[in-house]
Amino acid sequence: MKGSGLRAYAIAYLIFLYAPILLLPIFAFNSGTIIAFPLKGFTTDWFAQMLANQTLRRAFTNSLIIAISSATFATCLGVFAARASTRFNFPGKTGIMGLIMLPLVLPEIIIAMSMLVVLLAIGVKLSIFTVILGHTLICLPYTIAILSTAFNSLDKSLEEAAYDLGETKWSAFRLVILPLVMPGIISALLMSFTISLDEFIIAFFLAGNEPTLPTYIFSQLRFPKSIPVIMSLGTVLVVMSIILLAVAEYFRRRGLARTGQKDHGGFL
């Protein structure tokens, strides 16, 4: 059959992609204290330890606050940018959108360092607030990418039709545009939430003494005895990410179905 060699290769590739991640749950439930085969026995101790850990709880709360705030800010700003870029022509558009989308290709260390230098210079104390500033910046291009697709798929005359039927510009937006791009907005929120939750470098440099989940993980990597707990934490994080992504994908598809479009698959 045509492409059977390719199929085998693609499946092997998927296994290569997933194999390391599959280690997470395997060792998170393994009773051995070192990460090695053969496995010892089943345990949920590591999860219990994880839940009992005060610093970890604090890191979790911080991460949650950061992720929710960054996702909200980035999505709000993204709505403006995506609408402006899909609906209007204005001078300097390419340059302006280029600047806003720049974090997509800029190494995070550059963003973290330059923001750190400025924040220190103007005397802002590092906290989870400064992390939110950074995460909003790096999530923004992703939200714009998702929302632009959502806005672009809208027929411009839908808005005009609403206006023509007696609505104001604002109520036309509220009654027609907003419901139609809502799946895109939810998808953008979930996506930036996931990015923020998993982001390490900016959190590492801009959080000051406040732990987030990734920086907590990083700080524990030196201690072999805490590796099993990290494995269970990693399991939780990956499961959360997958759930969020699945929900985001669901909304993206629903958005497509609503406007009666064909699915070309995938984000970006």
């Binding site: 992609l17 390391p20 053969p38 209007f88 998993d198 990734p214 990290i230 970006l268």
Partner: protein, 290 residues
């Protein structure tokens, strides 16, 4: 009076884009400009002296450590890019040409999931796999195949390349897939119809048309890889620093912000120049409008 609506649209557009623009200017442009400015300032004790100098750049360019670190970063990034793109192409081809349309979204979803899961955890897992007491060593030891843990698995360039190639794998697939999807299938039939074999059609039609995607994939992998911080730290064990680690060390540990800024600017310049040369060399593929 003649072009009222034109101006009105521009004004509305600018008003609309201004919140994200102001944010990007404050949080991105201003810090980047600050870094650029710092790189021309003198370093004092615990402060930056605002006096123009090219000394930082002179120091960076003549520093043998920088040469070594930059060379290592470039080497790792090239190797990772090559491996990722070569490995990704058949998968993208499979996705675009073999997978039936209704299954495509599922495949892409499966491939992108690892990309969205914590990067730190993915890197750390390779440390767990390759480490002194890691999965490979401890498994081999307990099976009695080796007596002593293998030392050459971790803390070297090969380990960093494997880790990064794995971490950035999905990045390369999507742009190539998108480019392949855009290819009009009748072009391929035309190629066959004009007497070319399947392989030659691929070589003369598919590949040139897929090149924009390959080029995008190359840059998408190359740029973040060269600026990677976590992998040298964890997998290189801090003994194999790359440019990002050197920038960070100068900025924080050594508290020489002008020097760190000059390093960052230099590294960005080098990456930009390499990217531009690469784009220039491939310009004939990018001119094709489909």
């Amino acid at each position: 009076m003649s072009s009222t609506r034109f101006d009105a649209e521009a004004r509305q557009g600018l008003a609309m884009v201004s919140p994200p623009l102001i944010y990007a200017v404050l949080m991105l442009a201003a810090p980047l400009i600050t870094i650029l400015a710092y790189s021309f300032f003198k370093d004092g004790y615990l402060e930056v002296i605002r006096e123009f100098t090219l000394e930082n750049y002179r120091a960076v360019w003549s520093d043998p450590i920088f040469h070594k670190v930059m060379a290592r970063s470039l080497g790792v990034a090239f190797a990772v890019t090559l491996a990722t793109v070569l490995l990704a192409f058949p998968v993208a081809y499979f996705l675009s040409f073999v997978v039936p349309p209704e299954r495509k979204a599922l495949w892409i979803f499966l491939i992108t999931i690892p990309f969205w899961t914590s990067y730190l955890i993915r890197v750390f897992l390779w440390k767990v796999i390759l480490g002194h007491n890691g999965v490979i060593n401890s498994t081999l030891t307990s099976l009695g195949i080796i007596d002593e843990p293998l030392g050459f698995l971790l803390y070297n360039v090969q380990a960093m390349v494997i880790t990064l190639a794995h971490a950035y794998a999905p990045f390369a697939i999507l742009p190539i897939y998108v480019a392949l999807e855009k290819i009009d299938r009748s072009l391929l039939e035309a190629g066959r119809d004009l007497g070319e074999s399947r392989l030659m059609t691929f070589w003369r039609v598919t590949l040139p048309l897929a090149m924009p995607g390959v080029i995008a994939a190359t840059l998408i992998v190359f740029i973040p890889t060269i600026g990677d911080y976590v992998t040298p730290e964890l997998i290189g064990g801090g003994k194999m620093p790359m440019v990002a680690n050197m920038v960070q060390a100068n900025m924080l540990a050594l508290d020489n912000k002008p020097m760190g800024s000059a390093l960052a600017v230099t590294a960005m310049l080098i990456v930009t120049v390499i990217s531009l040369i690469y784009l220039f060399l491939n310009r004939r593929f990018l001119r094709v409008k489909q």
